[in-house]
């Protein structure tokens, strides 16, 4: 094979290069020539093309994401902020937590099993490269119309991939979301969240410091998988008639990843590593250029030393390969032997591929010939930045003015009961246990709460009971109606879900899934959502610690609903004090916290019953949301609650049904005065929760709400002898819902569709 060397590039400036095929625009190519003062070699072109792709460079989103850095709330718990592999938060007692959510949307549509599997693999490596032990994963998923046959292909593949990879890795899967909406038909969303814990002193960063230190590549061998995956898959809108893109998807090996976790934590804890970086999108190109530009500024790489799965790979392919389960470490020369010994113990292959220097250049040689000589910062950080045009589209007026007021509502007790039964079985509200029972939630033995509870909760310290809770949420219909408010509502819901289990919300991560940034309407949605989120995080005191942007979730002209998935991390001092969602004993009092208004726009009822999307999303008062959280956390800490559950999709009806199904016993309830049964049951007003309080705590609880001036309404009592929800005040009558009937309806939907 002919090698394009740096001297070739200097001597043949006019050679035509396939920059467009690699996803680079003409002006981007020109600026590479300007940086180098010559044409790039083919290897350099490969590196720039992957590193300057939307996925790696955030070139369209950067100008807006800066808000997360400027609107930073005063918060003492941030140890490592945005920009590293994942942010790190102090949770006290010397413990720190790192968490992050990332998208693997496009690969998962092309090859659902491997796409979803490697999505988990990637986010887990981000967490271990901070020095943390991964302790849990969660998967926020979005699919198209559940009745569409392709949804079955995509969903079953993705669920198998998450299970197949995650279960073998030994990380409990403690939550996430499964949402169906036709807007995701050609663009399912597979987001993966991982959370890890460590002691403060174990935090590690991705930088190559120390001249003379060795750069070691370890883990799986490099193969031809995923070549061009970043630029070809993640940064180009799917073309309905385009060529098959299967070869670009990476293939995962969870067993190797498990060894990599143990091996990496062992070398880190033994003090053998100066800097560390995982290999994900853009593979060796990304790892070497980021390590070099974050450290002393120079690095030399012997690319022919890389261990290969396929000996015919060209240097360009090796630089771009996205083979999974690889890591890169910077190690002092005197510690190389010890590092290699740990790798050998775990049967992990490792090889020194480079050396840190202070040349200010990243140089790569291939069998003695120089094929790359670039300033590493220009590859890793100084990519193009676009000020994409954005404008509120005219159709927003129509969308926001066509509210749900004219939709036919149930008007009798019989109609309310029928609506309740129907809603319980809609794909979005139905039990997800058919999916979640394919994931291991028990492994590691620290899972305190897992789905269907409001947040996943993990015990961090067995001695003290210190724990964390994580939730991810987004009602994308709200974001479609108003992206600014929609992002804030997503944050509020996630914040509430953490608080409802008794944990204090601390920090935020996000996965911003949008259509094409080249569409000014999509770019406006993005700008609005980021601004809304940054503003709300500032006000609520929860900093954004990191996140991910996924653009081009669009088929032809049709973009997905803007879907800013928000993850919130909370801390709980003693997991024994957590609040579960199931009510338990006879006579416990059931309250609704918060005010219910007539807010049905973007609701599950409007969507499921009327296929309607229009109007304005529910109003949101961030201060009220914080007060609600204070009540929920204080009530949990002081033992006031026997149960609590968030009110969101499907309204109070859904919350009550879920609490009853989880518990198996019924309740005698009444629609409060001043509101009709329909609005009470299915409105999706924000900032509400159902809480259950024992007879001897209710005075204290009501006093707490009064002191905080927060609205609270008693709606009834738990009835341990009953196996049904009895609701009075339904258009002058009472209705009775049998819990077993609800359960049957709730549990048969997903197996019917996908089993």
């Amino acid at each position: 094979m002919s090698i394009d060397t740096v001297s070739d590039a200097t001597s043949s400036p006019k050679t035509a290069q396939p920059f467009a095929e690699l996803g680079l625009k003409k002006d981007e190519y020109e600026s590479i020539r300007e940086i180098l003062g010559r044409r790039p070699t083919s290897s350099e072109l490969a590196m720039y093309s992957v590193m300057w792709s939307e996925h790696c460079s955030y070139k369209s989103s950067k100008v807006h994401l800066r808000q997360f850095g400027t609107k930073v709330p005063k918060n003492d718990s941030m140890l490592v902020g945005i920009g590293e592999n994942a942010g790190v938060v102090d949770i006290g007692q010397g413990w720190a937590v790192t968490f992050k959510v990332e998208s693997h949307n496009h690969p998962s549509y092309v090859e659902p099993y491997q796409g979803a599997a490697t999505g988990i693999g990637g986010i887990v490596r981000d967490i271990i490269s901070m020095g943390a032990r991964p302790v849990a994963v969660m998967d926020p998923l979005r699919f198209g119309d559940p009745e569409n046959p392709d949804t079955r292909r995509v969903l079953t593949g993705i669920v198998s991939g998450i299970g197949g990879y995650g279960n073998c890795l030994g990380l409990p899967n403690i939550g996430g979301e499964i949402v169906f909406d036709a807007s995701y038909q050609g663009n399912p969303l597979v987001n993966a969240l991982c959370v890890g814990t460590m002691k403060h002193e174990d935090i590690h960063l991705a930088k190559a410091s120390g001249v003379g230190n060795a750069v070691i590549l370890y883990g799986a061998r490099t193969g031809g998988d995923g070549i061009g995956g970043v630029s070809v898959l993640a940064s180009e809108t799917f073309d309905a008639d385009g060529p098959a893109k299967r070869p670009s998807v990476q293939v995962g090996d969870p067993f190797m990843e498990k060894l990599l976790i143990e091996c990496t934590l062992e070398v880190l804890h033994a003090g053998l590593v100066e800097g560390i970086q995982d290999l994900g999108g853009a593979g060796i190109s990304c790892a070497t250029s980021e390590l070099a530009s974050n450290g002393e500024g120079g690095m030399h790489v012997w690319l022919d030393r890389v261990l290969l799965r396929d000996s015919t790979l060209s240097p360009e392919e090796i630089l771009m390969s996205e083979s999974q389960e690889r890591m890169c470490a910077v190690v002092e020369p005197g510690k190389i032997d010890a590092f290699m010994a740990v790798c050998k113990k775990w049967d992990v292959e490792a090889v020194v591929i480079g050396e840190v220097n202070n040349s200010g250049r990243l140089t790569v040689e291939w069998h003695g010939q120089e094929i790359v000589n670039v300033p590493p910062r220009s590859v890793a950080h100084d990519g193009p930045v676009y000020e994409r045009p954005y404008a509120r589209p005219d159709w927003m007026d129509v969308r926001q003015s066509s509210g749900p007021d004219n939709l036919v509502r149930p008007k009798s007790a019989a109609e309310v009961k029928q609506t309740w039964l129907t809603m319980t079985g809609t794909p979005n509200l139905a039990s997800k246990s058919w999916v979640t029972s394919q994931y291991d939630r028990y492994v590691m033995g620290n899972t305190v709460l897992a789905q269907p509870e409001d947040s996943g909760m993990i015990r961090v310290d067995e001695k003290t009971g210190l724990g964390i809770a994580v939730s991810t949420d987004c009602n994308a219909r709200f974001a479609a109606l108003d992206p600014y408010k929609g992002a804030q509502l997503a944050l509020a819901e996630s914040y509430r879900n953490v608080a409802v289990t008794g944990a204090k919300p601390l920090a935020v991560t996000n996965c911003l899934n949008f259509g094409s940034p080249e569409d000014s309407a999509v770019m406006w949605q993005f700008e609005q959502a980021v601004t809304g989120l940054a503003d709300a995080c500032l006000e609520m005191g929860t900093p954004v610690t990191g996140g991910n942007v996924s653009f081009y979730n669009q088929t032809g002209e049709v973009a997905i609903h803007p879907t800013p998935v928000i993850g919130v991390l909370g801390v709980i001092q003693d997991v024994d004090r957590r609040t579960p969602m199931a009510w338990q004993r006879d006579g416990e009092i059931v309250y609704v916290l918060g005010a219910t208004r007539d807010e049905l726009a973007g609701s599950e009822w409007a969507h499921a019953i009327h296929d309607h999307l229009g109007g304005l999303p529910p109003v949101l008062d961030l201060n009220a949301e914080m007060t609600l959280a204070e009540i929920l956390v204080a009530g949990s800490r002081d033992g006031l609650f026997t149960a609590a559950h968030d009110v969101s999709e499907g309204g109070i009806a859904q919350s009550l049904a879920e609490m009853a199904m989880r518990s198996g016993v019924g309740a005698r309830l009444e629609v409060p005065a001043g509101i009709d049964a329909f609005t009470f049951l299915w409105s999706e007003s924000a900032t509400r929760a159902v809480v259950v309080v024992s007879q001897d705590c209710y005075e204290k609880f009501v006093a707490l709400c009064d002191a905080k001036k927060f609205p609270v309404t008693k709606i009834g009592v738990v009835d341990a002898l009953s196996k049904s929800i009895e609701l009075a005040g339904v258009f002058g009558e009472s209705i009775s819902l049998d819990i077993e009937e609800l359960r049957t309806i709730s549990e048969e939907t997903l197996p019917r569709l996908f089993g």
């Binding site: 198998s160 073998c168 033995g445 620290n446």
Partner: protein, 230 residues
């Protein structure tokens, strides 16, 4: 003297720390054993934990059978050392021929994680002596290849000799023949079970604490056999 219970870690073992925690909560001392170290370090009993040893490549448990530590373990088990194989550990025990039969892909072809009701059928093994025969327990189950199979003669023999130690109740989660969840060898020192007792040892994290019985049984058996002074 506190009984020392070894927990073997193979590459890909996942529930090893959980098994060690269960040993400790039952009152024993857990000792980490490494697959490549052909030494049982004088432990009084061994747990083969759940997980995906060697990635489940070739066949679940098939490669683990050849680990250096396994040669020692097979000899010791044949000599009466108490051994409990949980999930993947059960698969390793059948592959090593310490227990008959095999574990195959779940009949519904999905991995399944659920709280599983079991009935204890035999309380004369070293790992089930603290239970009552007929006692119903609830512990987590999580496997992709947990369908217990054996030929009819072997199944009849297991039944006839009372070597089925636990059976699935209400729902057979994986297509196991005769609802078998766990079995023992003739001597009663080697037990394999597909569900996970080590995940039902604390009220906080498990559906019950029913699983603790397997580990307290071991400690009682060791005392009764005079291996350990009470």
């Amino acid at each position: 003297m506190t009984p020392r219970v070894g927990v073997i870690t193979f590459p890909g073992s996942l529930d090893d720390k959980d098994a060690a925690r269960a040993v400790r909560l039952a009152g024993g001392e857990s000792v980490s054993l490494w697959h490549a170290d052909a030494d049982l370090h004088s432990v009084d009993a061994v747990v083969l934990p759940g997980g995906f040893s060697y990635g489940d490549y070739l066949r679940c448990g098939a490669i683990a059978k050849f680990a250096p530590v396994m040669g020692k373990l097979v000899d010791a088990a044949n000599g009466g050392l108490p051994v409990l194989g949980i999930c993947n550990g059960f698969q390793v025990l059948t592959e090593s021929h310490l227990l008959p039969g095999a574990l195959t892909r779940n009949d519904h072809l999905h991995f399944i994680c659920r709280d599983q009701k079991l009935r204890i059928e035999n309380n004369s093994s070293m790992w089930t002596s603290d239970f009552e025969v007929g006692q119903e327990i609830l512990i987590p189950l999580k496997n992709g290849e947990g369908g217990y199979v054996a030929d009819e003669v072997t199944l009849d023999e297991l039944e006839g000799e009372g070597r089925v130690i636990a059976r699935y109740l209400e729902l057979n989660p994986n297509g196991s023949r005769r609802d078998i969840a766990g079995i023992t060898n003739e001597r009663g020192n080697v037990v394999g079970i597909m569900p996970h007792p080590e995940h039902a040892v604390e009220k906080l994290t498990g559906p019950t604490t029913d699983g603790l019985g397997f580990f307290t049984s071991l400690l009682s058996s060791l005392v009764n056999n005079g291996k350990i002074s009470a």
